[in-house]
Symmetry: C3
Subunit: 145 residues, 3 copies
């Protein structure tokens, strides 16, 4: 049997399968560097043992964090871009706990639980960057003609 890998190339980009203990954002950053992804849209789902979501507090200029354990992530949506030459991932997600109720928000951290996490990456050829826009106090994906 051949070795497990964490991603394969597809006609539209890549398909990732992450495993127990994998850090979702860190693995996506590694993928961006390994495959030199200029920019991409991503969608994912799977089981996580830990999720840290944030809700942006414009007074403080930072995310108010909250940690959750053992969630069936029902949807991760995000984009991959660059900032100061390093990967800059922006993603939101929602997840269901044992009670089937949902929680979610801006993704600050996701660790794959006992099971897996599957991510579909639709790659774009444009090298896109995020930039802090002082007038709104938030990082925004920059697109230009």
């Amino acid at each position: 049997m051949s070795e497990h890998v964490r991603h394969i190339a597809t006609p539209s980009g890549f398909l990732m399968v992450l495993r127990q203990g994998d850090d979702v954002l860190a693995r996506l950053e590694e993928l961006m560097l390994a495959e030199d992804i200029a920019s991409a849209s991503i969608m994912g789902f799977g089981f996580v043992s830990k999720a840290r979501f944030g809700f942006f507090d414009f007074d403080r200029g930072d995310y108010e964090p909250r940690d959750f354990v053992d969630l069936e992530i029902t949807g991760l949506a995000g984009t991959l871009a660059w900032m100061y030459g390093i990967p800059a991932i922006h993603a939101h997600a929602s997840g269901a706990g044992r009670s089937f109720g949902l929680v979610g928000g801006h993704v600050l951290d996701l660790i794959v639980g006992r099971g897996s996490f599957e991510i579909t990456i639709v790659a774009h050829p444009h090298r896109l960057v995020r930039a802090m826009e002082p007038d709104i106090g938030a990082k925004v994906l920059q697109i230009h003609v």
Copy 2:
């Protein structure tokens, strides 16, 4: 620096970045007209200052609306098609408030908040229309051989 735009073309369709105050459905309609999009599937996420979701009431034949403010939209899923020659967007979304709990439903209105809203559009070449189907009292995307 070149001018900000709200969308760029990608191999699979378009990538949109909307900004504070933008009306998500209105901007998508403009995109359909500007780029003559025959039909498309869309996915998005971002921060909205206002969301109006609907839950269909088949007795009344219309959506029961509910307004929410300041939501991290964790996922928008929809399709772009046409009805009577004008854009007809069908989308559902979910969003997390400050308490990290989620609300959502059929999208009647979304206004981008302090931050941004990113949408990935996968374009299809078929000119698709929606039609009211009297037997179920709902508009359905029509696909034919």
Copy 3:
């Protein structure tokens, strides 16, 4: 007028429109067989009259199920693969009820309600299989170099 169909081919895969009474997972299995889909990523949304979600109980090694009625599914995310030569679908979803609160989890069953359910399928050329991995007690999508 030509006959309604449940799917059409697109440049990236397929677009499905399911109707009242359709079993979402069964229709996706039929699509995989009819179009010989090697593997795919899917996203969907729509109205269901019945949803059965599961939350995995590792002690029992099976999903704890819960049934819900009349949900606006705000997002379905999944992958299509094979196991022992038959279709093996893995999908998670979230849905809003009349109160606009969300529930969700691993999809065990979804039946389309009065309305429709639209699914976008991004096809991949790799014939992918799921396999039970005894060390974690879960089925995992297998990808190899």
